[in-house]
Structure formats: C-alpha cells, structure tokens
Amino acid sequence: MNNTDLKNIKHQKSLDVYKIREDFPILETLVRGKPLVYLDNSATTQKPRCVIERMTRYYELENANVHRGVHRLSEIASQEYENAREVVREFLNAESVEEIIFVRGTTEAINLVANTFGKSFIKEGDEIIISEMEHHSNIVPWQILCEEKKAKLKIIPFNDKGELILSEFEKLISDKTKFVSIVHISNSLGTINPVKKIIDIAHHYEIPVLIDGAQSIMHTEIDVQDLGCDFFVFSGHKLFGPTGIGILYGKKNILEKLPPYQGGGDMIKSVTFEKTIYNDLPWKFEAGTPNIVGAIGLSEAIKYVKSIGYESITVYENELLEYATNRLKQIPSLRIIGEASTKGPIISFIIENIHPHDIGTILDFEGIAIRTGHHCTQPVMKHFNIPATARASFTFYNTKEEIDKLVEGIQKVIKVFS
C-alpha cells in the first residue's frame, strides 16, 4: 500500500473527538469551577448517553426477573439479557454463547476460574505461572489457591522498560505447570504484552491460558478464536458500560469440565435433597438473579464502541499517547515509568522529590483527574523501588488540549514545590 492509500484510510477512519465528547454528559461537568479533564480512564471509563438511557429505559419499561416468569415483562427481560450475551459473543468472536458467562467484573472472573479450575485440576506440587506486572486481582486468587493446594506460583519477570522477559517464561515451564494467567495490557506500565506468543508457547506444552483483558478491552479489538486463549476476562465499566458487570469467556470444552462456582437459583435444572442437577452452560456459572440491567448496559456500550470502530480508536489513541509522551518527556524532573516498545495509552510517571499524591491533589485543583498510588500493582512499584506513581490514562474522548492542560498542571505542581 502506498502512502496516499494510507492517508486516505486514515482520513476515512479519523474520528471526530468533539462530536464524540457530546455523547458523554459528564464531560460537560465543572470540577472546582474548571472544565473536567478526565485522565483516569484505566480506573473506569465514563458512560455515553446511549448506555445511561438504555439502562433507564430498562428500569422504566422492561424490568422483571429473568428465566422465570411466564409474564410478558419477564419474557422481555430474559430476551434482552440473552441478546446481550449474543452481542458479547459476537464482539469477542467466541464460537458460541455458551462460552460467555456474566460475572461482576474481571476480579470475579479470575476468582471463578481459580476456584473451579483449581478445585478440579490443581494438586500439591503443581505450578501456576503469572507475571511480575499483574494487577493484585491476578495475583491474590492464585496465591489463595496455591496455599490451599500446596501448589507453587511462578513469576515471569519484566525488564526495566517494563517488557516481559519471554525467555524467562519458557524457563519457568515444567511438567508441573498447570495454568498460565497473564495481563494483556498492564494498568500501571501501559505495556501491551505479546499475549498471542505467550498463548502459543503455553499451548505447545498443553497448558491453558487466561488473559486478563481489563485494560485491553477498550483499546484493542479482541478475537478470542484468533488469540486462542482458553479464558479471556474483562469488566464492563472499563468499556464505557456500567459497574458490577463483567465477562468471563471460556472455551466450551474446558468450562464443561469445571464444577460450578456458586450454588443457587438459575444454575440448576432440578433440586432434591438427594441430588441437584446443574444447569447447562453458561447458566451453570450464573447462580442467583444476575445483573440484568448491567448486561443490557454493557451490550449497549459494546454497540457504541463498535460504531466508532477499533481501527480509528487505535490510530487516535496512539496519537494521544505519542503526543503526551513527547510533551511529558520535556519536563526535566519527570520520569516515565514503563517504556515498553508497544504501549496502550497509559502513562505512569514520577517527579523528583514530589510525592504522587501531592501531584494528584494539585492537579485536582485544576479540574484534572489522574490516578495516584500503587495501582494495585505493588510488585511493579517494588521493581522500580518507588512507593507510588501518578498515572494519566487516555481514551478516545480525550483531546490534545487536555494533554496540554495536564502538562501546564504539572508545571504548576513543580512550581509549588520549587
């Protein structure tokens, strides 16, 4: 393809950020009298009007419990809930809706797998591999499991740029390795991990792999069949959807072999005091009344993201990342933590002699929302021997003007402490 073609594609695909911003009511908010500059998208994303209105409409016109009543509203609610599952299936390109389990979020999805897979397949002396850059939610469930089963947790290290050292990964694999669980995009470093390669390596040894997509889902198109992962998990609220809803994708042949996670209504076919027959997939893993409106809201969010398109999202977010990185690098006392060659639009940084919390509070005076702290990745902080970082994370509704405001804000922080 020649340059003109490339330009044309870019032109056709370029998104109109100012038009997109109109879809998000909260972006018109004033914080401390100043226009909100929301740069904490890795923590949670804002919600477009269509999601908010869809959820309101459900409660105003369609609310009932699912899979139970014979009445009209229950029928509508059940239909909408199951339609949402189909929207998620298509979005992830999963083979069937049986592979899509609604959960509370990424954390619950990982706990579900650690519990059920662990119960059935992990025994004393077995090994589970994670990485040094995992979020606590992809460390602690495995730690609990290892403690219970007397299994071992093995850690893939990363280099000082924040890139996983894959040669070390291969060295960690042994005939005792029973599971690999890896983050797709690091929430504190921004690193995009070569997950396809990791999955290929693990599958060569017939080891199942879970990919934590909490941070990748809003930035990258996911095709679970192309990736080949056995599990893929993410949260709805980081994809412009509501909180309290998330997705566990699992390959059908593995999910079928797992015991239920929680017992209760909806996950059963029949119950007697002697014997309970569990429901089929995916309901086997959905005990109790589910987050119906959450699922419907998430499906609306997915439709919204698809209407913008991942191709233009990626191009635009890369522009933001490059622009922000270049501008921040010009501040002499600022150091970026996480300089992997492939990154999502997430920038962690520290400033000489200024604690991240003070950076966060002073930026807040300017209406700028960033995250400060260890980002639930304390091992990452330990690697760099720092207590915390400040983190700006971008998405497709952010603008270069907002990045300019961030830079001005940081200069103000430095002035206060000079």
């Binding site: 401390r32 009298g33 200024i354 604690h355 991240p356 919390h357 003070d358 509070t361 002073i362 005076f365 400060t372 702290g373 260890h374 902080m381 207590p387 915390a388 206060v416 402490f417």
Partner: protein, 150 residues
C-alpha cells in the same frame, strides 16, 4: 476551597522540604512504624519518654508533603509535653482535620497545627495528616506491629 495555597500553606511546604527532628534515635524508649498502604507513606517514629514526659522525639521516612509536614510539626510540638497533653492535642488535631471541631474552639490554640485546617476539605488526605499521630499513639501504648491507616 479553590486556592491550593490554603491546603499547601508555606509552613507545610517548608516542613516537608526541611523536616524538623528528622533522624534516627539510638536511645529511644519507644519506637513505632507507621504505614499508609494507599499512598505508600512510611515513617519510623522514635520517642524518649521519662516520667510520663516526652523528652525527645524524632522520625524518619518517606511520604507526601502533607504527611511529612504533619510528622515534622508534630515532633516539634510534642517535645517536652506530657503523654496526656500529647493525646489531648491529637484529639483536637483530629477534630480539626476531619472538620468536626467545635465552632467555639479557638483554632489558634493549636499553634502551628492550625495550618492543616484545609485538609478537612480533602477526606482522602486526612490519613496523610494523621499518620504520624496514629503512630505516636501506638508507640506510647507500646503496641506491636505496624500502624496502618487502612
């Protein structure tokens, strides 16, 4: 509060940049460690207590401007005070930073501590301002382990 100088007053910035009593104490009678897991603030507090009087106090560690300044100002204020007085000062200070101080209370009686009044507008920063004080109370009680704000 829209002026950040109301929170980051000169006194606070000065103490955070040049903390007082910022050293280890070899002959301390009481030692305690304070930790705020949320932001990683981490201080060691050293006390020399004789006959119920805090004869000497020092600290060492790392944290944000608010927590460091609070620790620094605390050490300069409680030095020479009785344990009872120190506890009373903490109670008033705690009321001040959590915005629960009595309307009739004379804030000036708190001396330098009054500069932390702006913290009450920032609930998440209350832990920063009180970390050193909580650590002090635990040190005086000889409570083992790390004082955590969580």
């Amino acid at each position: 509060m829209n002026d950040l100088r109301e929170l980051y007053q000169e006194v606070i910035l000065d103490h955070s940049k040049h903390p007082k009593n910022y050293h280890k104490m070899e002959d301390a009678t009481h030692v305690a460690e304070g930790y705020n897991p949320l932001c990683g603030d981490h201080f060691n507090l050293y006390l020399k207590v004789e006959d119920g009087i805090i004869k000497d106090v020092s600290f060492l560690g790392a944290g944000c401007a608010i927590s460091k300044a609070s620790a620094s100002i605390m050490t300069s204020i409680i030095k020479g005070k009785s344990i009872e007085d120190a506890e009373k000062i903490f109670q008033n200070f705690h009321s001040l930073v959590t915005g629960k101080i009595d309307k009739n209370f004379d804030i000036n009686s708190l001396g330098k501590l009054a500069v932390f009044s702006g913290v009450s507008e920032y609930p998440v920063r209350v832990k920063c301002a009180t970390l050193a004080w909580h650590t002090l109370i635990n040190a005086l009680k000889n409570k083992p382990g790390i004082t955590s704000t969580e």
